[in-house]
Every structure is written in C-alpha cells, then in structure tokens.
Subunit: 372 residues, 2 copies
C-alpha cells in the first residue's frame, strides 16, 4: 500500500460544527511546538485562562481548557461533581440532554429525567414543579444551546429555579459560548463546559470548562476519588493553577492551545457583546432569506439559536442528495438532522468565523439553485 | 488587559516529549478544517487506521487514534477491559506504572503491585513467580518504555509469561511506538496505547490505541457499561469502523488527525525497522559523547531506551540552572527528572524527528560548554 499527504478540500463550514477556522487561527496552530512545561507556554496558558474567564463572564479560579473535546468536558463536569448517592435532574430536549443522562447513569447516581419537546426550550415551569416534588435533588443539568435541535433554553431562569431549590447547576454551553448571551457568574452557573470548534471557531478537540467555588468545594470534599484519573480536576488544576511550579499531569495539546489562544484573542478584540450581536444579525439575514425560499424553521422564533438554524427539509426533497450536491459542487457543508430530526431537518450553522454575510449569501444562493 | 497573538520561541526539543515536530507535519496540521463526517475526512481516517496497524505491527480491527492524550489512552484500556471484580497485576518500575495502578484503584478492581527497581526493566522472573501465586489474576499491565526512568522492559517475554498464566496484557507504548522494536500481534499484546508527541513526532494530544480480538470480546461481553462514556470503545469504534455510515460519537480533532496522518506517512516512508535503527544509532552517538563528558547513565546498558537517555546530574551541578541556560541561551529543552529521579537526573530525548545528528551535536556541545 502507498500513502501520501492528505490534502483536504476547502469547504465552507455551515453545519453544527466545526465552523470555519480563520487563516489567523490556522497560522497560530502551526507555530513551532514547544514543551508543555516551558515557561513561555505556561505564560500563554495563563492568558488562555484569563480569556476564557472573559468569554464565560466569570471570575471562577477553576477555569481552563480541557485537553479533549466537549464530550469529555461534559464528562468532567459530571464525574467530578456527581457521586453515586446523588440525585440529578437532567432536562432533556434533544440529543445532548440524553448524553447528560447517560453520564449520570454510568456514575450510578439517581437520574430524574425532565423531558421537554424536541425543538423547544426546556420548560422552566415544569422544572420548578419537578424540583418541588424532588427535594433530594442535588444537581440540575441542562443544555443551554441544543445542537441537535437549534433550541435555546433560558439558562438564567433555569439557574434561578435550581438555586431556589438548593440545587447546583451543570450547563452545556458547547454551542452557545461566544455566540449567545451567557453570564456564568451573574446567572450562578456552577459547572459549565463548551467546545473549541463552534462559536470560538478554533479547531476541534479542546473543551473550555469552568467550576464555581461551590462546585470546587464539592470536588475537594468528595468521599471517593473521581472515577476518571484523566478528568480529575484537582489534578488538572495543579497543572493549570497560577502560582509557582506547575505539576505535570499530562502533556497538554500544545498547538491546539496556541489556536485556542488566538481564537480567544480574536473574540476579545471584537468584544463579547459584539460577537453575540453579529450572530443575531447574521441569523436574521439568513432567516429572511430562508423565508423567501419557503423553508420553515423547526424552533419557534423566541427560542431559536442564532448560530444553529434547524429547518424542515421541504417535501419531496432528497435529504442526502441535496447535502451531497452542496458539498461536492459548492464545497458547502450544512448539517444533517440528528436524533428525532434525522432525515427531517437540516442544521445550518452560523458559528463564529462562519457567521458572516458572504456565508449567508452563499448558502441562500446555493439552496435556491438546488431546491428548484 | 490587552492580549496579542502568542509567538512561541523556536526550541530544539530533547526532553521526554513533545519531540520536534517537522515543518511537514506542522503544514499538514494547518490545512483547512473540514467536517468530521465529511467523506474526504472519513477516507483519511481509514488511512490513519491502516498506518497505525503498520506502526503497531498488528491486524487488530480495533485500532484507532483516541481524541485525547496518552493518559486518556491508558484510561481507555483500563476502563474498557477491567471490571471491579477483576484482579490486575501492575508491574511498576517508574511513574507511569504508578499511574496504571491508580487507574485500577479508581475502577475499584483488585490491584496486585509488582515493584521493580526504578531505572531497571521489569523483573520477568518475579512476574512469573507472582503469577504462579496469583491464579485469580486476569490482566498483567506494564510499561514498555518507562518515560520517567529511560528503562526498556522486555515486552515480548513479559507477554509470554502473562499468556502462560492465562492473563491478558495491557501495555504502555507511549514512548516506544516508532522508536523501539514493538510487535503487537507477534508478541500477543491485548491492549496497547501510545502518544502522538514522542517517536511519531506529531503534535501532542492524540493517543493511538489497539485492542486484540480477545480484548474486544471482553468489551463486548461486559456486565456493566464502561464507566466513561467518552472512552467507551464500542461507541468510539462505531465512528472509526470501516463499513457504511459512520455513527457520530464526538467531534474528532480534525486538524490534529491531519498531523498524525502526515507523521505516520513519514514513518511508513522511512520504514519501521529503519526508524528503530536510527533511534539506536543516534543513541549510540549521544552515549559516546556523554561518556567523554563524564556523564553517567541511570539505566544499565542492556535495558536502556535509545529514545530517552536518563543521566545522572554530575555532582556540584545546579539542575534547574543548567536547564534554564540550555533553554534560554541555546533554545534547547532537555527534561528534568521525574518521581524518584527529580533533581537527580536529566532526561535527554531522541525521539522521532529529534533523533538526528544535528540535535546530538547541539546537545553534546551545549552540555560541554555549560558543565565546565
């Protein structure tokens, strides 16, 4: 067998992530590798931490970038905080809420599932009622931006309700960080995880996480060790923490962290609120155009994510064929439906660097040509 | 606060990893990101799998690159195979054997520790004796190339002994893959993990793993789910497996896999045996030079790793100061001692792209100047 270098095609990425990675971030990624304990690298990690605190709007000391994708970020939140004797209310309104439930089950903790309709926000009133009847609940977990459906839940209100019932919150912000209003400290979120490859427009493979002091307190006072050594945040923090010598835990993904740093500098330069607004503006442009094409949204307007537009595949249209034409003839990737929406919906991403007028124009024109 | 792009210094990496990443691999890394389900990307993954089978010298179907560092590869092997009722013999002769033991403890399985002297190979006769007295043992775990000490254990013999006692083997090949003779099928290794950033000279953050059919059989017939959802190899394989549609599990680290692909193509072009020999040749050059400088090795000659040379810090020499001078004045990174050897030894890596005459010459000259 012979093997040669892999030269990928140049795509426009308007699926559910990864989003387009800018030349600037790709350049950062390709800078020379240095050691994970090199003082210059450790200095850069401090900046990554400060920039993540900005992106999350938090002063949480335990804020860092995990050396693995968002799924590992989710698992890190659950395995560090939840112990087998705990009861966790998981709000499910899509695929990723289901994955949260799976995490709770594998820990052997008590799972109470609150199911909301797919394509809708989590039902806040139903959560309040459920917690009223579930005094043993210790955690409430929900997905801020459901990547499988395009629905945005009211994280602020859900956290208020959880707090009212003395519950800590675990929040999935994989698709929301950088693209939707998100205020970790103000809203009182206790554990949150995201991904590098959505609205931050960094390469995939890194998961920003943050834990409140209340959450850190639980981690410090666990009765049993965290089941995962790799995801044990007490150990990970000894590598990421500010003062003095860093304790080796594992070899950090040096180059991916260069890229994350660059993408966060770009976000900081633009300004977080400006980035949220840009996502909203591009969404509005796309929605207006889709309406003209007669394409309908899955999610009611008030609950839609700007950065992930889930639309019903028009009747008589061949899902896979259209996506293949877009990919092969236009080099344009849009996302297939997932879970309940497989074969029924498309997911059009406007995330980070992908949320720009040129992409919206390309997508609308290509769809118009293909859907004729 | 202001933030600007991070421009790393250009180092020569002769520590315990990451090793020097070639311009060719960095170029591959920076190619445009495409989707993790893009047919072009899936085709590349098939090549990564075939190239890893070559590097591991195996036909194992469950051979793939985990989306996280070697520590996660270690954890994947343990959490997928070992269940709480199992007894695992862990051979410890350095830091990483200790980490294996920690994995067994966190699973809640029965740990039997076989300690060998640090800086020496695992004692094969002692393992045979121990297994004779431990008929309930189901797994034997050991580190092929101990990155903390520079000792190479006789993996072939250890696997023979394990098989004689009906045990499966879990092997750490983080530092050996690509740099030392390693034959997974011929030696009968059941589960093996490595890292991208050592003798493959790829960027850090990816862990090649491989499981034998015997190991896969255990995974398939587990009584309880794998405690980690992210590392559940049954799920991961549904994304990596050859036939038909790939099932989404998590978003793969697309660009890091471009880089891994390129580094494996380079290894394949050179030839595995040639790479092993090059590491040995460069080690010989370095050892001859170090001898002239009066610097002694920690590990007896027959048990030394070519790619990781652990040497005693000469008397009267300030460890941290010398390493700082090498780093700041020569842009040369060598490794500090770890565990029992902290402050007592240096670790000089000759891994992958770093194993060349220029690096050996630089290291010897710089040490000569600094140690005067």
């Amino acid at each position: 067998m012979t093997f040669t270098s892999f030269i990928p095609p140049e795509r426009t990425l308007m699926g559910p992530g990864p989003s387009d990675v800018s030349a600037r971030v790709l350049s950062a990624l390709a800078r020379p590798t240095i050691g994970h304990l090199d003082p210059k690298f450790v200095g850069m990690m401090d900046e990554v931490k400060a920039l993540l605190q900005y992106a999350f709007q938090t002063e949480n000391e335990m804020t860092l970038a995990l050396s693995a994708p968002g799924s590992a970020g989710m698992e890190a939140c659950f395995v560090n905080l939840v112990q087998p004797q705990d009861t966790v209310v998981v709000c499910q309104n899509g695929v990723f809420g289901g994955r949260m439930a799976e995490n709770v089950k594998r820990i052997g903790a008590n799972l109470v599932l609150l199911e909301s309709e797919w394509g809708r926000a989590v039902d806040a009133q139903a959560l309040d009622n459920l917690l009223e009847q579930t005094p043993q609940a210790k955690f409430v977990a929900f997905v801020h931006a459901e990547t499988s459906t395009g629905a945005r839940s009211d994280a602020k209100t859900l956290c208020e309700i959880a707090r009212k019932h003395q519950c800590l919150t675990i929040v999935d912000a994989v698709t929301s960080l950088g693209g939707s209003e998100l205020r970790v400290d103000e809203w009182g979120i206790d554990a949150i995880y995201s991904g590098s490859q959505k609205c931050l427009s960094c390469v995939p493979g890194i998961s920003p996480v943050s834990f409140s002091d209340r959450a850190v307190d639980i981690i410090k006072h666990r009765e049993t060790p965290v089941p995962s050594w790799f995801l044990d945040q007490s150990l990970v923090m000894s590598y990421w923490s500010g003062e003095g010598k860093r304790a080796y835990h594992h070899t950090a993904p040096v180059n991916s962290l260069y890229a994350l740093h660059e993408s966060l500098v770009i976000l900081h330069d633009e300004g977080l609120e400006n980035s949220w607004q840009r996502h909203q503006d591009m969404h509005q442009l796309l929605a207006t155009g889709l309406e003209k094409l007669g394409v309908d949204f899955v999610v009611p307007q008030a609950e839609r994510l700007a950065q992930l537009n889930t639309v019903l595949i028009p009747q008589g249209i061949d899902d896979a064929k259209v996506r293949a034409i877009l990919l092969n003839d236009y080099n344009l990737e849009i996302g297939a439906g997932l879970g309940q929406f497989a074969g029924k919906a498309w997911r059009i991403g406007l995330m980070g660097h992908s949320a720009n007028r040129a992409n919206v124009a390309l997508c609308l024109s290509a769809l118009k040509e293909v859907l004729v």
